[in-house]
C-alpha cells in the first residue's frame, strides 16, 4: 500500500512539474511578444520585484539620513576606512553594505510569499521547484571533454582540407603541369596596366592623347569605355526589371499561343480545318488587296514570296501521291469512296501545279518576245539581273544598261571621249568602281546598239561609228553573238524597267533624281557646259535611233521570272519528275528464327556436316607441309647466257649450274620430330624473346591496348613537327631559376571561380550593377 501511495505521490508531483513546465512558456512568450499590452501576470511579476527592492530602499534611506546629519559637522566626506580586508571596494569610496554577504534563495522567496499580489500560479511553480530534489548531472571529465573537442576540431579541419581534393585530382590527371603554378600571364598586358603613372609629355604624345580623348577611348581606367559605361547607366534596375517583366509576358504569351496551336492541330474534324483554311485565305487575300493599294513594294514582295512557295511546293513533289498519307489512302481507295475522291483531288492539285508553268507564259508574253521568239540565245540562263539595280557588280557585265535607259544624258556621255567619262565618274559616286574594261565594254555595247538602230531604222550613222564598224569587222567571228547579247540585254532591261515601273518606282526615284542632280552640278562651270554642248551635238543623231527600241512599252508582268526564260525552258514535268505517283511497297517482315533448337539435334547436324572430313589425315598433312616449309631450299642463281652462248633451247652447263647453286645448311632437327601428334612452330625466335614484354604492364587492360601504344610512333620521322611536339611534351615543366611556391589558397579560389561563372552570369551582372550604382551613389553624395 505504502508503495502505491508513494507512487501516486510521485505521479502527482510529476503532474505538477509538467504543469509548471507548461505554465512557464506563455508568460515568457507574452513578455517577449507584446510590449504594449502587458498581461496581468507580468504586472504582478514587476510589482513583486519592486516589493523586493523595498527593504533595500529603507536601508538606503537610513544611510542617506546619516550622510545628511554628518554634513553639518564636516564639509568633506571622509574616505571610508578599510578596517577589514574585504574584496569589494567601490571606487566611489562607498562600501555597499552587505555586498559581500550571500543572499539565500529562501530569503528572497520569503518576501514573495508575504506579498499578496503574487499569483497563485507562480507560487505553485516555486513550490514545485522547491519540492524537486533532482540533482544536476556531473560535468564530463576533462579528458572526455577534450576528446570531444578534439573530435569536433578534427572533423572541421578534415572537411576544410577536403576542399582541395578537386584541385589535387585535377593536377594529378593533368597532361602537363607548369610550375610555378601562379605565373604572371605571358599574354600581352594592356598598356594601362603597364604604365600607371605615365603622362604624355612630348607634343606627339599629347596630340595622340587628344585624339584618344576625342574618341572617348579609355586612357586610365581600362575596365569600361565611356560608351560602355553610358550604356550601363542607361539601363537602371527598374528598367531592367520592366524589361524582364515584358520578356516574361512575351514568353508566357508565346507558350499560350503554342498551346493553342497544338490544341487546334489536334482537332480531327476536317470540316473545321477546311473552314479555317478558307478563312485564312480570305483574310490574306483581303490584306494583299489592301497592300497593293497602299504599299505596292510590300505587295510585290509578298507576291514573290508566294511564287517562291509555289515553286518549292512543286519541287517537293508533295502532291505526287507518294507521301505516307497517300499510301494509306491508296490502300483504302479500293473500298472507300471518299478516299478515292481525296486521291483524285490530290492528283488534280498535282496536275495544276505542274501544268501551271505553261499557262502564264502564253498570256503574259510581251510583244518584244512575240516578235522574234526564235532569236533568243542561250545565255538567258545568266544570273538574274534584277537583284540590285543600284549595284553595278550585281548586274554582271551589263552595268550600263539601266543608267542608260534611266537617263539619256548618261548615254550620251558614255559615247563621248574618255576625258568626259572620267569627269562624269568623278561626280558619280556609284559608278566610281567601274574599271577600264567596263568602260570599254560599255563603248562596244553602245556602238552595237547604234548599229542595230541603224539597221532597223536606216538612220545615218554618226561620224564615230565608221571607225568602230571597221574594228567590228576585224573581229568578225565574235560579233554576231555579241550582237545577239546586246539585243537581248536591251530587251531584257527594258522589260525589267517597265515591270518595275509602278511597283518599285519609289525606290528608284530618289536614285534617278540623284543622277539628274549630278548632271546639273556638273554643268556648273563654263568648260563643262561647252563640253556638254559638244557632246549633245555629237550624239544627237544617234538618240532617235535608240529611242524607238528603248521606249517600246511592255505590259506589266511578274518581275521575278524573266519572260524569256519561260519561253526557252519549259519544264516538262514528265522529264523532271521521274518519281512514280503511286508506288507502295511493303517490306517483307523478317522471318523469326527459332532459337530453341535441340542441342542434340545441333550436334547431329554438325556431325552430318563434317561426316566426310578426316581430321587426322588433315593434321598429318599440315605437319608434313610445315616440315617441308622448314626444309632449306636450294637457291639457284644461274643466269642463262652469261659467259656462254644464249638463245632458245640452250641450257646453262652443268658446271655453271653447280657453281651458282647455293646450298643452305640444314637446320637443326625439328622439336616435334618425335611427337607425332604435335606441331611445334619453329617460328619463335629465342633471341628476340629477351627484348619482348612477357607480362601485360600495369596501366593497360588488354594486350591490344599495349600493342597499339607501342605501335604508334612518337618520333619526328613519322610525325609532323607539331604532333611530335605535342606527343613529346613533358609532364612537368619548371622554369629555370624560378622559386616554386607551395599551392596557395588563391589556386583553390581560382579553380572555383573558373567553374562558377558559366552557371549564373545574370546574378553576377546584377550584383556588379548594384555595386556600381552604390559606388556612383556614394560619389554623388560626395559631390553634394
Amino acid at each position: 500500500m505504502a508503495k502505491t501511495k508513494t507512487a501516486s505521490k510521485k505521479g502527482t508531483k510529476l503532474k505538477k512539474a509538467s504543469q509548471s513546465v507548461k505554465a512557464v512558456p506563455p508568460v515568457a512568450a507574452a513578455a517577449a511578444d507584446d510590449d504594449d499590452d502587458l498581461s496581468l501576470e507580468d504586472e504582478n511579476v514587476i510589482s513583486a520585484s519592486e516589493d523586493e527592492e523595498g527593504s533595500e530602499d529603507e536601508r538606503r534611506h537610513t544611510k542617506l539620513l546619516e550622510a545628511i546629519s554628518a554634513l553639518g559637522g564636516k564639509k568633506k566626506k571622509k574616505l571610508a576606512e578599510r578596517s577589514e580586508a574585504s574584496l569589494q571596494v567601490s571606487e566611489f569610496s562607498v562600501n555597499a553594505d552587505g555586498a559581500g554577504e550571500k543572499i539565500n534563495l529562501s530569503e528572497l522567496l520569503g518576501t514573495m510569499t508575504k506579498t499578496p499580489g503574487t499569483l497563485n500560479k507562480t507560487q505553485k511553480q516555486l513550490k514545485n521547484l522547491q519540492q524537486r530534489k533532482k540533482t544536476l548531472e556531473l560535468p564530463l571529465s576533462k579528458q572526455e571533454t577534450e576528446r570531444i573537442q578534439r573530435g569536433l576540431a578534427y572533423e572541421k579541419t578534415a572537411k576544410e582540407v577536403s576542399q582541395w581534393e578537386s584541385v589535387i585530382n585535377q593536377n594529378q590527371r593533368a597532361e602537363q603541369l607548369v610550375f610555378p603554378l601562379q605565373q604572371e600571364s605571358s599574354a600581352p598586358k594592356r598598356v594601362e596596366q603597364v604604365v600607371v603613372g605615365w603622362k604624355a609629355q612630348t607634343p606627339l604624345e599629347q596630340e595622340i592623347f587628344k585624339l584618344l580623348h576625342n574618341n572617348k577611348q579609355p586612357i586610365h581606367d581600362p575596365v569600361l569605355t565611356p560608351v560602355e559605361e553610358a550604356s550601363l547607366k542607361a539601363m537602371s534596375l527598374e528598367e531592367a526589371k520592366i524589361r524582364r517583366a515584358e520578356l516574361q509576358k512575351a514568353r508566357a504569351l508565346q507558350s499560350y499561343y503554342e498551346a493553342k496551336a497544338k490544341r487546334e492541330r489536334k482537332i480531327k474534324s476536317k470540316k473545321y480545318h477546311k473552314v479555317q483554311k478558307k478563312a485564312k485565305r480570305k483574310e490574306f487575300q483581303k490584306q494583299f488587296d489592301e497592300m497593293v493599294k497602299t504599299d505596292p513594294t510590300g505587295a510585290l514582295e509578298e507576291l514573290k514570296k508566294m511564287e517562291l512557295a509555289r515553286m518549292e511546293e512543286r519541287m517537293s513533289l508533295k502532291h505526287q501521291n507518294s507521301g505516307k498519307w497517300a499510301k494509306t489512302k491508296a490502300i483504302m481507295a479500293k473500298y472507300d469512296d471518299s478516299a478515292r475522291k481525296a486521291m483524285q483531288e490530290q492528283l488534280e492539285v498535282n496536275k495544276e501545279l505542274t501544268q501551271k508553268l505553261v499557262l502564264p507564259s502564253d498570256d503574259e508574253d510581251d510583244e518584244g518576245n512575240k516578235e522574234d521568239p526564235t532569236t533568243l540565245p542561250d545565255f538567258v540562263n545568266d544570273p538574274e539581273p534584277l537583284i540590285d539595280p543600284v549595284n553595278p557588280w550585281m548586274r554582271g557585265k551589263l552595268t550600263n544598261e539601266v543608267s542608260e535607259l534611266d537617263t539619256p544624258s548618261a548615254q550620251t556621255e558614255s559615247q563621248t571621249t574618255e576625258g568626259a567619262v572620267e569627269v562624269r565618274e568623278e561626280d558619280d559616286e556609284e559608278n566610281e568602281e567601274e574599271t577600264e574594261e567596263e568602260k570599254l565594254l560599255r563603248e562596244f555595247e553602245n556602238r552595237r546598239k547604234l548599229r542595230q538602230a541603224e539597221e532597223e531604222d536606216l538612220t545615218p550613222a554618226p561620224v564615230e561609228e565608221s571607225k568602230t564598224q571597221s574594228q567590228d569587222t576585224e573581229e568578225a567571228g565574235g560579233v554576231s553573238e555579241d550582237e545577239e547579247v546586246s539585243e537581248f540585254n536591251t530587251l531584257f532591261t527594258r522589260l525589267m524597267n517597265s515591270s518595275k515601273g509602278p511597283a518599285a518606282s519609289a525606290g528608284e526615284q530618289g536614285e534617278a533624281e540623284g543622277l539628274l542632280e549630278e548632271g546639273l552640278v556638273r554643268v556648273q562651270t563654263l568648260e563643262d557646259l561647252e563640253d556638254l554642248a559638244e557632246d549633245v551635238g555629237a550624239v544627237e543623231p544617234s538618240e532617235p535611233a535608240s529611242k524607238p527600241s528603248t521606249e517600246t512599252p511592255g505590259p506589266s508582268e511578274e518581275p521575278s521570272e524573266p519572260p524569256s526564260k519561260k519561253n526557252k525552258k519549259e519544264i516538262d514535268p514528265n522529264t523532271v519528275l521521274t518519281k512514280d505517283a503511286t508506288s507502295i511497297k511493303v517490306p517483307l517482315t523478317p522471318t523469326v528464327v527459332e532459337n530453341e533448337e535441340d542441342h542434340d539435334e545441333q550436334t547431329n547436324i554438325i556431325k552430318e556436316a563434317f561426316a566426310g572430313d578426316d581430321v587426322i589425315s588433315d593434321f598429318l598433312k599440315d605437319k608434313r607441309e610445315q616440315e617441308e616449309a622448314g626444309k632449306p631450299k636450294v637457291v639457284d642463281l644461274t643466269l642463262p647466257g652469261w659467259g656462254e652462248w644464249g638463245g632458245g633451247g640452250l641450257k646453262p652447263s652443268r658446271h655453271k649450274r653447280r657453281k651458282f647453286q647455293i646450298q643452305v645448311a640444314t637446320p637443326p632437327p625439328r622439336k616435334d620430330q618425335k611427337l607425332p601428334a604435335v606441331i611445334i612452330s619453329e617460328k619463335r625466335d629465342g633471341s628476340v624473346a629477351s627484348h619482348q614484354v612477357s607480362q601485360l604492364p600495369f596501366p593497360f587492360e588488354n594486350p591490344a591496348q599495349f600493342e597499339t601504344t607501342i605501335r604508334t610512333p612518337v618520333g619526328y620521322t613519322w610525325n609532323t613537327q607539331t604532333t611530335f611536339k605535342k606527343m613529346t611534351a613533358p609532364k612537368v615543366i619548371t622554369r629555370m631559376g624560378a622559386i616554386i611556391e607551395p599551392m596557395a589558397k588563391e589556386d583553390l579560389m581560382k579553380d572555383k571561380t573558373a567553374k562558377g561563372p558559366t552557371k549564373e552570369p545574370a546574378i553576377k551582372l546584377s550584383e556588379t550593377e548594384n555595386k556600381k550604382r552604390k559606388g556612383s551613389g556614394k560619389r554623388e553624395k560626395a559631390g553634394e
Binding site: 582540407v161 577536403s162 582541395w164 629477351s690 627484348h691 607501342i710
Partner: protein, 445 residues
C-alpha cells in the same frame, strides 16, 4: 619553238636569313618509313644507355663546418642561399652559385637543433641545446658591428625543432611541448601537449597554413590546428618517426620518416592506414623533404644514402651515395626543383642534381626537343625487359647491398613463417594483417 622550263618559287627553298632553319620537305608516307617500332625501340635503348652514362648527380661539396651538420634550411626568397646548423652550435650561410660560405655565426652552445628562415627572407630563426630561440638578420652585419641576434628568447626546456608560418609572423617550436610563438612576444601564445614528454619535429602545412604536424618520442604523429585549443588527432606507430614533411601541392598529404627504415605517406583525413609505404632504406630514415612540385620527395638515412621516391611509388627511383658521405642527417630539395642538398655527419653539405643525367644550364630548342623525345621513348618502352634492366641498374656500396639482401631474406622468412602459422592453426585465428595496417598501433582521438 616553245621551251618549257621548270620554274620554282624561290620563297619555297631560299632562307630569308642565314639564321633561319633550312626548310626540309618531308614525306610522312608510312611506307617510306618502315620498321617504326624497332627503330624507336633502338632509340629508346640508346637513350636509356646514355642516361645511365651521363648520370652523374654529384655537383659539389660545401665543406667548412667543424662538426656534423645537424640541420639545414632553404632561403625562402633566394635560390642560391642555404643555411646550415652544425652540432657545435655554428650556423653557416652558403652561396650555392659560388659554392662558398658567406657567413659564420656561433649561434648556440651545443647543438643547433633547428633552423628556419622567415617567409620574407629577411631573417632566420635558430633553436639550440642552450634552450634559446634566436632570430638573426639574413644580411651581413655592417662594418664594426657584432654578430648578434635581433631577438633572443630563453625557454624553459630544450627546443628540438622550429618552423615558421608561411605568411604570418608566427612560428612554432617543439621540445617538451609544441609552442606557437608570436615574433613580437617572448612567451608562446599557445602550447599544445598531449601526454608526451618530447617532440622531435614540427612542421607547418604550407598549403593549409594553420595546420601543423609533429613527431613525438612516444612513436606518435600529432596533428594540430593553430586556431583550436586542442590537438586534432594522433596516430601511434610501431616505431618512432624522426621527421615529417607536408606535400606542398597536396594540402592533406604528409610523409614521415621512420626508425623502421621506411617512410609513410599519410592522408591526414584517414590516419588508420598510410596511403603508401616507401621501402628501400636499410637503416633509420632521418630526414625527408618534398620537391616543390609535390611529385617526389628525397629522404636521408642513417645508411649513408639519399633516396628519391616518387610520391606514389613504394620504391625509390634513385639512390645517391659517395664513399665519403657518412650518416646523412638532413636533406633539402631546392625550391627550383633542380637540386638536392644533403648534410651529413662528416661535416659536409653536398649538392646533388635532382635528376641524375639532366644537362645543366640552358638547352637549345633542338636539345630540349631531343631530351623530351628521349624521355618519351624511355617512358614508352619502360616495360621492355632490356630497357628496364638498364634503367633500373644502380651501383650500391657493398655493405648496403648486403644489408638489403639480408633484409629481404628476413622479410621473406617472416612472411613464410606467418603463412605456415596460419596454415597450421585454426582457420581465422591468425588474421591477415596487411602491410599497411601492420605498422600502426592506434589512432587516438
Amino acid at each position: 619553238m616553245k621551251v618549257k622550263v621548270l620554274s620554282r618559287n624561290p620563297d619555297d627553298y631560299v632562307r630569308e636569313t642565314t639564321r633561319d632553319i633550312q626548310r626540309v620537305p618531308r614525306n610522312y608516307d608510312p611506307t617510306l618509313h618502315p620498321f617504326e617500332v624497332p627503330r624507336e625501340y633502338t632509340r629508346a635503348l640508346n637513350a636509356t644507355k646514355l642516361e645511365r652514362v651521363f648520370a652523374k648527380p654529384f655537383v659539389a661539396s660545401l665543406d667548412g663546418h667543424r662538426d656534423g651538420v645537424n640541420c639545414m634550411a632553404k632561403h625562402s626568397k633566394s635560390l642560391s642561399t642555404v643555411l646550415s646548423g652544425a652540432c657545435d652550435g655554428e650556423v653557416k650561410l652558403w652561396n650555392l652559385a659560388k659554392r662558398e660560405c658567406i657567413r659564420t655565426i656561433q649561434a648556440h652552445e651545443g647543438f643547433v637543433r633547428g633552423i628556419c628562415s622567415r617567409f620574407c627572407g629577411t631573417s632566420f630563426f635558430t633553436v639550440g641545446d642552450d634552450k634559446t630561440i634566436k632570430q638573426w638578420k639574413m644580411e651581413l652585419p655592417g662594418y664594426g658591428e657584432k654578430e648578434e641576434p635581433i631577438n633572443t628568447i630563453l625557454g624553459k626546456a630544450v627546443f628540438t625543432g622550429i618552423d615558421h608560418h608561411q605568411s604570418e609572423s608566427t612560428f612554432v617550436t617543439c621540445g617538451q611541448t609544441v609552442d606557437i610563438w608570436d615574433e613580437q612576444r617572448s612567451s608562446p601564445i599557445r602550447s599544445f601537449s598531449w601526454g608526451v614528454d618530447s617532440f622531435s619535429c614540427v612542421r607547418y602545412n604550407p598549403v593549409e597554413t594553420e595546420l601543423l604536424a609533429s613527431c613525438a618520442s612516444d612513436r606518435s604523429i600529432v596533428l594540430y590546428d593553430m586556431r583550436e585549443s586542442t590537438p586534432l588527432k594522433k596516430v601511434v606507430m610501431q616505431l618512432r618517426s624522426n621527421t615529417l614533411c607536408w606535400n606542398p601541392m597536396e594540402a592533406y598529404v604528409f610523409t614521415c620518416s621512420n626508425e623502421d627504415y621506411n617512410l609513410y605517406t599519410y592522408d591526414m583525413r584517414n590516419l588508420t592506414a598510410p596511403v603508401t609505404i616507401h621501402m628501400d632504406h636499410v637503416s633509420a630514415v632521418l630526414d625527408i623533404d618534398y620537391s616543390p612540385t609535390g611529385r617526389e620527395f628525397v629522404s636521408a638515412s642513417f645508411d649513408k644514402t639519399i633516396r628519391i621516391f616518387p610520391k606514389d611509388s613504394g620504391h625509390s627511383r634513385e639512390v645517391y651515395h659517395t664513399k665519403r658521405m657518412q650518416h646523412v642527417i638532413c636533406v633539402k630539395w631546392s625550391a627550383d626543383n633542380k637540386y638536392i642538398l644533403s648534410g651529413s655527419d662528416e661535416m659536409n653539405i653536398r649538392l646533388w642534381k635532382a635528376s641524375a643525367s639532366e644537362k645543366l644550364g640552358v638547352l637549345s630548342p633542338r636539345e630540349r626537343a631531343a631530351a623530351n623525345y628521349n624521355e618519351k621513348l624511355k617512358e614508352k618502352f619502360q616495360h621492355h625487359p632490356q630497357i628496364r634492366r638498364i634503367a633500373r641498374h644502380r651501383h650500391l656500396p657493398r655493405d648496403i647491398y648486403k644489408q638489403r639482401r639480408e633484409l629481404r631474406e628476413m622479410r621473406e622468412a617472416r612472411r613464410r613463417k606467418e603463412q605456415n602459422v596460419r596454415k597450421h592453426s585454426k582457420p581465422g585465428s591468425v588474421p591477415v594483417v596487411t602491410e599497411k595496417e601492420k605498422h600502426i598501433v592506434t589512432v587516438v582521438e
